[in-house]
Symmetry: C4
Subunit: 372 residues, 4 copies
Amino acid sequence: MSATLEPIPPGILSLADYEAAARQRLDEGAWAYFSAHAGDGLTRRANRAAWDRIGLVPRVLRAVREVRTDATLFGRPLPCPLLVAPMALQRLAHPDGEVGMALAAAAQGAGFVLSSQASTLLETVAAAVRRDDSGRGPLWFQLYFLSDRAATLELVQRAEAARYEALVLTVDAAVRTPRAAEQRAGFKLPAGVGMVNLPASEAASAGSLGALLARAPTWDDVAWLKARTRLPLLLKGVLHPQDAREAARLQVDGLIVSNHGGRTLDSAIATAQALPAMADAVAGALPLLVDGGVVRGTDALKALALGARAVLVGRPLIWALASAGAAGVAHGLRLLRDELAVALAQCGAARLADLDRSLLLADAPPLLGRDI
Amino acid sequence: MSATLEPIPPGILSLADYEAAARQRLDEGAWAYFSAHAGDGLTRRANRAAWDRIGLVPRVLRAVREVRTDATLFGRPLPCPLLVAPMALQRLAHPDGEVGMALAAAAQGAGFVLSSQASTLLETVAAAVRRDDSGRGPLWFQLYFLSDRAATLELVQRAEAARYEALVLTVDAAVRTPRAAEQRAGFKLPAGVGMVNLPASEAASAGSLGALLARAPTWDDVAWLKARTRLPLLLKGVLHPQDAREAARLQVDGLIVSNHGGRTLDSAIATAQALPAMADAVAGALPLLVDGGVVRGTDALKALALGARAVLVGRPLIWALASAGAAGVAHGLRLLRDELAVALAQCGAARLADLDRSLLLADAPPLLGRDI
Amino acid sequence: MSATLEPIPPGILSLADYEAAARQRLDEGAWAYFSAHAGDGLTRRANRAAWDRIGLVPRVLRAVREVRTDATLFGRPLPCPLLVAPMALQRLAHPDGEVGMALAAAAQGAGFVLSSQASTLLETVAAAVRRDDSGRGPLWFQLYFLSDRAATLELVQRAEAARYEALVLTVDAAVRTPRAAEQRAGFKLPAGVGMVNLPASEAASAGSLGALLARAPTWDDVAWLKARTRLPLLLKGVLHPQDAREAARLQVDGLIVSNHGGRTLDSAIATAQALPAMADAVAGALPLLVDGGVVRGTDALKALALGARAVLVGRPLIWALASAGAAGVAHGLRLLRDELAVALAQCGAARLADLDRSLLLADAPPLLGRDI
Amino acid sequence: MSATLEPIPPGILSLADYEAAARQRLDEGAWAYFSAHAGDGLTRRANRAAWDRIGLVPRVLRAVREVRTDATLFGRPLPCPLLVAPMALQRLAHPDGEVGMALAAAAQGAGFVLSSQASTLLETVAAAVRRDDSGRGPLWFQLYFLSDRAATLELVQRAEAARYEALVLTVDAAVRTPRAAEQRAGFKLPAGVGMVNLPASEAASAGSLGALLARAPTWDDVAWLKARTRLPLLLKGVLHPQDAREAARLQVDGLIVSNHGGRTLDSAIATAQALPAMADAVAGALPLLVDGGVVRGTDALKALALGARAVLVGRPLIWALASAGAAGVAHGLRLLRDELAVALAQCGAARLADLDRSLLLADAPPLLGRDI
Ligand SMILES: Cc1cc2nc3c(=O)[nH]c(=O)nc-3n(C[C@H](O)[C@H](O)[C@H](O)COP(=O)(O)O)c2cc1C
Ligand SMILES: Cc1cc2nc3c(=O)[nH]c(=O)nc-3n(C[C@H](O)[C@H](O)[C@H](O)COP(=O)(O)O)c2cc1C
Ligand SMILES: Cc1cc2nc3c(=O)[nH]c(=O)nc-3n(C[C@H](O)[C@H](O)[C@H](O)COP(=O)(O)O)c2cc1C
Ligand SMILES: Cc1cc2nc3c(=O)[nH]c(=O)nc-3n(C[C@H](O)[C@H](O)[C@H](O)COP(=O)(O)O)c2cc1C
C-alpha cells in the first residue's frame, strides 16, 4: 500500500462521481471485469431504479441536533451501518488493493468483508486492520464452498485464526454466468494478481472465467458449516421469503439480501423490491443486511427504514479505490456517511432506530377520490 | 428599484418560458444558486411530474361567465390564490430584488412571503408594499430559528412592527444540504448582496454555503413562538400526515405542504403526492397551502382541488425577476392567474369553492372489465 | 373544388403517414393553426397513448368470412362507424375545403360534421353532399352558442333547412385558450378564408385569435335549444360521468366524449380513459361517440369495444386534405376503414355488435401469484 | 444444404446478437420480410418488454448440481423445452433453408415445426431429420386451412405419411395484414423460392403479399380436422381464456399462446401477459406452449414458470440461419439452452417441474406500509 495518500480527483462531490473518474484510470480489461453485469443488465439497473422509486415522507420538528449513525450487530458496536461488500481481486483496481480498502473502511467506522477470492492474503488484511482498532467497523470473511469440505474448513479456520468476526457464505453464485463485457474485452488476469487465499486448483478454475464456480452448497452444507465454526454465519444472496424462513429455522445468524449486484442471475428482482417481504418473513428473528445499487445516503436510509440493519456497498468503492486508492475509499465512504447523517436529520430521525416504513412511500400516482 | 419598467423579453407566452430567458441573463454563479437542487434532483423533477400526472375531468354547461379567483385567508381577502414563495437573496437575480418582487405581486393581487434571508431590509419591503394597499395580496414573513431565542424574537418583533400579516416558520431545512451545482460553479456571494436582516454572525454562517443552517427547532419551539406572537403562525415544509395532526393539535394556524422545491431532502415525495393525505389528516381544521413545481394555471387548479387554499410559486418568479425585473414578475403572475381563470371556466368552476377531487383522476390505465 | 383528383403522395400506407406529407405542403401559419394544442400538449399526447395502452385479447375460430362495419344511429343506417370531426376553416388546408372533405367522407360511407366556423357556406356543403346520396354517412351540423339566442336560432334553422341530420352542440370551448404554436407562428387568417356562416361580428371575434369565444352555454340553454329543433341534439366535449347522467336526464340524444383533441383544457384526461366510466354512467340510455387521437383501425375498434357507437377523426383528415385534397381524404378514410375491417376479423368479430370489453386489457403487468 | 459448416460470426455471445449480424447479410427485401411487424409494432415490442418486466425471485441452497432441461410431451421425451416456430420461406434467409434449420434443431434436442408455407418439400425435411433420430426433439407440421377441405386433407395426409408427429393449426391469421416494411422495401419473392408444399393456386395467392390468406377456419373446422387425423392437434395463436376453455371442451391436444410475433393484429397483448390467465383457464387440461420475443434463457424460464410446457422461438433463429446457416442455428439454440440451464440452477430448480409462479414477481413498486 502506497506510503503517501493520493489526491482526490477534482469534482468528486458524491460517491457516484467516482465512476467516471475510474473509467478514465482503469484499463479496458479491469474496467470490464469490475463493471460487468449478467445478461442485459436488467437487474443492475433495477437495483438503482428501485431505490429512486421509493419516496421519503420526512417527519419534522423532532430533536435531531445530535444525529447518530451507530448500531450494534452480533453484540458488537457498529460505528456506522455501512460495510464494504466482498469483491474479488481488488489489486486489479489499485496497488492498495484489499489492504487499502480495509484500512479506509476502518478509518470511517465502516465494516469490511474480505472476499475469499481476494488478491491479498487474508492474514495480511487482518493484521493491517487490527493495527489500529479504535472505532473501526467489523471485519468479516466471505466464503464460497470449495471442491472439498476439508479445504473449505481449512479456509474457515484460517479466517478464525486471523480473528475475522463473522463468516459470510455466498449462496447466489452456484454457477458462474459468462458476462459479455468481460468476454468482449478479452479480459485475462494480469501476472501478479490472483486469488491468493485459495488452493491453486480452486483459484485456477475460479480464475478461468468460463469455468463453473466451485460446488453449489445446499442447506445441509450450511448446517454442517454452522456446526463447525464459532463465528456468526451470514448467508449472502437470499431474495426469497421462503428461504429467509428456512434460514431462521436453521438459526443462521444473519442474511444479506443481495442479487450480487446483477452479476449472476439477470432479471432477479431489485434488492429494494425484495427487502420488505424479506423483513416480514424473518420478523426480527435474525438481522437483515442488503446491497445493490446503493450510492446515496438516502438509499442507505431507505434500506434501513425497510428493515435492514446495515448496508453493503460494492462497485462504487471499487471506483473510489481505482481513482485514489485508500484515500479515495475513505473519502467516498465519508461522503456517503455524511449524506446519511444529513438525511437522518432531515427525516427527523436522531437514531437509526427511529427509522421505519412510515417514512416511505412507493412511487405511485396520488390516491384521489375515484367515485366520480 | 429601477424607475422605468423593463421590457418583457420576446416570446414569453407562459410563466415557464422565463427560465430560458433567465439562463441567458444570469451569471453562472447566480444561475447555479437559484436553480440548484439537492442530490440527484429526484424531488425537483417529481414535483413537476406529479402535477402533470393528475388528469382533469372537467364539468360542462355550468354558469361560468364570471369566473372569480378570490378567497379569504385568516379573515383577510385574497384577491388571487397565489403567493411568492420565500426565497433568499433576490437582489442576486436583479437589482429590483425583494422590493420589485413584492410590488409586482401586490400589483397582481398575489401574496408575498419575505425570506428571513432576504437581501433587503424587511422594513423597506413592507414600506414599499404598503404605499399602495388596494387589492394587494397578503404580506408574510418567513422565519428560521436563529442561534438564540432572543435574536429570533427580536426578528419576529421587527416583522410585527413592520406590519407583516403572518409568520411562516420553515421546518424542513434543519440541516443545509450541500448542492452540487453551487459547488461546481464555485458560487460566492458578490459584494453588496447579503442577508441584511440577520445578525452578522447568523448571516455569515448562513452565507458560508457549507455550514449548517441555524438551530433545528422542535415542536416545543413552535409552542414557545406561538405564545409570543399575535400573528398567525404557519409551518412550511410539512409532508407527513402525522405532523399535520400534531400541528392541528398545537393550534398552528396553517401549513405549507412543501419539500423546499427539492433543495433539501432529495427523494422526498412530490408535494402533489403528499397533498391528498395531508388534506385528509387535517380535515379542514387548519388551512393548507402548497408549493413546488407550479408553473401552469392547471397546476394551481389541481392543488386547489386537492384541498390547498392557496399556492406558492418559487423559482419561476426568480426567472421572471432576473429576465425583466418587477415587470417580468408582474407579467409572469398575470399569465399564471389568467391561465387559472381560464382553467376554472373550462372545468365549470366559477369560484374556487367549486373545486374538489371529483374533477381529478390520477393517471392510470382505463378501468376495464377484467373478468375475461 | 378541383376538377381532377389529385395524386396520393407516395409512401402513404396508413392514415398517420399523411401528417409528414402535410407538414411539407402547408405554410407555417396554417400548420401551426391545425396542429396547435393547448398548454404543454399533455392531453394531446395522452389521447394517443391511451389507445396504445389498451391491449387486444382477440377471439379466434369465429365465423368472420364476411365482416361488416355498418351500424345504425338515430334510426338511420351508418355504412361505417367513422365521422369527420367538426373542424373550422378547412379551406386553409386546401382549396377543396369543406366540400372536398364532405364528398370524400360520403364516398367512403363515413359521416361528416360541418363546423359552424366552416369556411364554406353550410348550404353549399349540403347541396354537394346530397347530389349523390347513396351509401353516404350522416351529415351533421356543429354549433357554438352565439352572442344572442336569435342569431343562434337562425343558424340552427338554416342547418335544418339545408337538411343537416343532427345538431352537435360543442360544450368544451367556453373560453378560447391561446395556443403557443399559433402565437409563435404569428398566424393570421389569409384573405378570402373566413367563417362565412357566422354573423360578421361573431366571425370577427372568433377569428381574432386572442378573443374569447362566444357565450358559454348552460344546461338551461341546452333545454332551450332542444325545445326549438326537431333534429337529434348531441353534446360534444363531455368527459365527466355526472354530466353524462345530467344529459341523459335532459333527454339529450347523444354525447361525443371529447377533449377537443387537446386544444382547449390541457391535462384533461384522454378520451380513451374517460370512455369506460362514461359508458357505465349512461348505461345505454343514449349513444356515445368519441374522438381524439384515433389513427388506426385498432384505435377505432377499441373505442367501439369500450362502448362508443362511432368514432370521429380530426387532424389526421386535415393532413390528408392538405396533402391531396378530397382524394387524400377518401384514401385516408379508406385505409382506416380497411384496417378496422381487418382488425374486426382478427378479433373474431363479424359485426360491430360483437365487440365488447372482454376483448380488451388495460396495460398492466401480468397478474401473478404474489403470495411468495 | 452446404457441405461444410459455416463459421460463426465473431462476437456472438447470446442469441440476440445474431440480429445485427443478419441485418448485414440479408438483402433489403428479405430483411423486410423477416423482420416486418403489423401496424406500429406495439405487440412486437410488448412481447419483449413483457418478459423483461417479470422479475425472478430465486431460491437458493437447493440441490442443483445436475440440472436437467428435459420434459415429455404427448407421451414423447423432449430433450429440451425449445422448438423452432413455424416460419415460411426459410430458403430466403439462407440456402440451408428448412433442412438446415431442422437439422440444427435436432442436433440440439430442440423441436422443429415446419410451416405449410415452407420453401422445401415437407418430405425432404422429414427424411433429413429422421436420418439421425437419437436425442432429437419433435417434428411437427404447421397448417393453414386451404381453399377447400380436400386439398387441406391431402396436405395433412402427406404430413402423416412423412411421419410428422403433431399438427399445428394456426388460427390467428384469418386475414393477412399488409406490413409497411415489406411494402416500403417493395419485397417480391425471388425466383426459385416458393411455397412448394401448397397447390399452385394457394401458393400464388399466399405469395402475392397483398392477398387474403386462405379460408378463415371455425371451431367446426377444428372438429372436422380432429376427426380426420390420428396426430395430436395443437391450435396456434390463442390468447383468450374463453377460447382456451372451448379448445379444452373440444379435446384439442395443445395450445400455442401466440400473437404471431406481432405480425398479424397489432396491439394484441404480449404473450407473457396472456399466459397466466390462459394457464388458469385450462387448469392443466391440455398443455400450453408459448412464443413471441423469447431470446434469453430467463425468458424461457419465466414462460415455463408461468405454466408453459415448452417455448417456440421465431425470428432470432432466422437471424442465426441467415448469419451462419445450420451452424448458426445450432449455435444459437445451444446458447439459449445453456442460458436456460444456468438460470435453472440459479433459481434453485434442478428440473423444469420445479418451476412455478412463486419464483416470479411482476414489476411493481415495493409494497410498503401505506397507513402513514
Ligand atoms: C468486481 C466484483 C467482484 C465481486 N466478487 C464477489 C465475491 O467474491 N464474493 C461475493 O460474495 N460477492 C462478490 N461480488 C458482489 C458484491 O459483494 C455485491 O453483492 C455487489 O457488488 C453489490 O452491488 P453494488 O456493486 O451495486 O453495490 C462482487 C462484485 C463485484 C462488482
Ligand atoms: C433560491 C431559493 C431560495 C430559497 N430560500 C428559501 C428561504 O429562504 N426560506 C424558505 O422557507 N424557503 C426558501 N426556498 C424554498 C421556496 O420557498 C419554495 O419552497 C420552493 O422554491 C418551491 O418550489 P418551486 O421553486 O418549484 O416553485 C428557496 C428556494 C429557492 C429556489
Ligand atoms: C383545426 C381544428 C379545428 C377545430 N374546430 C372545431 C370546431 O370548430 N368545433 C368543434 O366542435 N371542434 C373543433 N375541433 C375539434 C375536433 O372536432 C375534434 O374534437 C378533435 O380534433 C379530435 O381530435 P383529433 O384531431 O386528435 O382526431 C377542431 C380541431 C382542430 C384540429
Ligand atoms: C418470417 C416469419 C414467417 C412466419 N410464418 C409463419 C407461418 O407460416 N405459420 C405460422 O403459424 N406462423 C408463422 N410465423 C409466426 C411464428 O411462428 C411465431 O409465432 C413468431 O415468429 C414468434 O415470435 P418471435 O419471432 O418473436 O420469436 C412467422 C413468423 C415470421 C417472423
